[in-house]
Symmetry: C2
Subunit: 321 residues, 2 copies
Amino acid sequence: MIRFWEDHPEIAGRLEAVRDLILQRAASDDPDVRAAVGQLLAASGKMLRPAFVLLASEFGTPDRARILRAAAAIEMLHMATLVHDDIIDGAPLRRGVATLHALRGPRLAVLVGDWLFASCFSLVADLGGDTHGGELARLVSRICGSEISQSTERFSASTSVRRYLRRIAGKTAALFALSFHVGAGQAGCTEAGVSILRRLGYNLGMGFQIIDDMLDFSSNAAETGKVPRGDLCQGIYTLPVVHALRADDGVLARALERAPRSRRAAARAFRIVAGGEGMRLSREAAESYTRRAMLEVSRLPESPARETLRSVTGRLLLRTW
Amino acid sequence: MIRFWEDHPEIAGRLEAVRDLILQRAASDDPDVRAAVGQLLAASGKMLRPAFVLLASEFGTPDRARILRAAAAIEMLHMATLVHDDIIDGAPLRRGVATLHALRGPRLAVLVGDWLFASCFSLVADLGGDTHGGELARLVSRICGSEISQSTERFSASTSVRRYLRRIAGKTAALFALSFHVGAGQAGCTEAGVSILRRLGYNLGMGFQIIDDMLDFSSNAAETGKVPRGDLCQGIYTLPVVHALRADDGVLARALERAPRSRRAAARAFRIVAGGEGMRLSREAAESYTRRAMLEVSRLPESPARETLRSVTGRLLLRTW
């Protein structure tokens, strides 16, 4: 069972069904696709995005099979971005497991990512009728745009809070919002309902990403499955760094303006950020987005799904992994 | 003007409009996307696929603006596959120009490819109504499947004609067929008309790819813009090689079972293929597909578009670049 959802066996069970559906899609294809997709699914973490599709659909009248397919499409889109991100970042590990490109080379990783993108769109097209193909596609261009900015801004110590927020809005928050939107839309929610759920997703996504970026500066790599100081060494300067740079007297900026040349330089930059005000200010920002998410939750009609969303929102803020 | 279309100024002019539309799409995005897309378009070759969309639409009642967008979507899909292929193959040159990943690194190339995929789907979704989003998506999965087989079969001297044909059917011929299909479909052609045009595209694509693979064994790299012996060194064994292997007494197979260790070994394998029966048999196969394409052309109603297709089909067989 997926650890994050062990107190919600209903959701956990349906997320297993989402996994099975994705495996099924891959089964008809090349053996290498199948193996790669199986490996990715085995390390698939919390499966938040498909869970949000399922939960959002509970505020309408969901056709279970249809919602399952929508959830699978969203997860495949997310998997595609992870696989390509790992190539881009040259990341050896994700969630403590060797990445696809590290295991099998960038060649297969590029292709499996493309296969996942295409399969996501084809799954959405198969839903037929008034589906979200266009929105998905526009979202993917937006995600790519954010990734490209992130990529071209690497090792720039002159980045700003505003630029950071824009980047994570286009990357994480947009996909969270879409997950809620697709679930609610497919279940025929009212426009007002869709709009509350969409805003919930956006704020949850912003808070989630800030916490995620902060976890990069926590020491327990074993629990997060991340490479310690991964973002910092990649020149991706997240909110704790941006805040630390504002309070900096030049030492940090000098260390960050280029790829740290020594382990000691990287460790020094890490200590300045991890021990500084940047972490506290980042936590405040995450809390503020979480409060806004909670406000949207309280606008939803009373129901078990609402209570699940309330508990998940709280747990995502407090998590250490 | 695009050299291949200089005798068809009408098509050449509209292909320029397709380019402008793609640039326009990119203009609203990140400056790096814009630059990369501009660079790709500047080296965009014959633009056969969008030209086929335009030509096929002439057999119905085309809405010019709509067809232009469909043609742009198809070209963006093609561009996306090229960008990702070049990463996969580690190709330094395409059409004599440095590839995006060689110039700007795999990071940007992965992202620009993704951006192109997504923009293609979003352009198709914008067409609205009974569009080809699902077919495009399924085609992309199929193309990825073919690429993955090609990738996992590298350096295998036990490949077969059948496997080679299946691979190029999934890669080139499927996209050629879809280009005709989309053009005809968007212009409201009859089902019979769509089906002739689709078959024309398929056969044209098969012939085209065989010729393309043969050009790898011609000596005039300057004209083709290819890296001499590119496929052979990559372990991608195309039809001339497959045929040569069948007539081989073991020398070629031993040279090909692994990445050639020396320039001399690669040159020897090249000479065996280029000078052997494989080239003649490949040409016969290309001619056979071209004949089938010509047969489909003759089934079309008499019109200037039919004459253009006839002349293009002939020229693609005889081309040296």
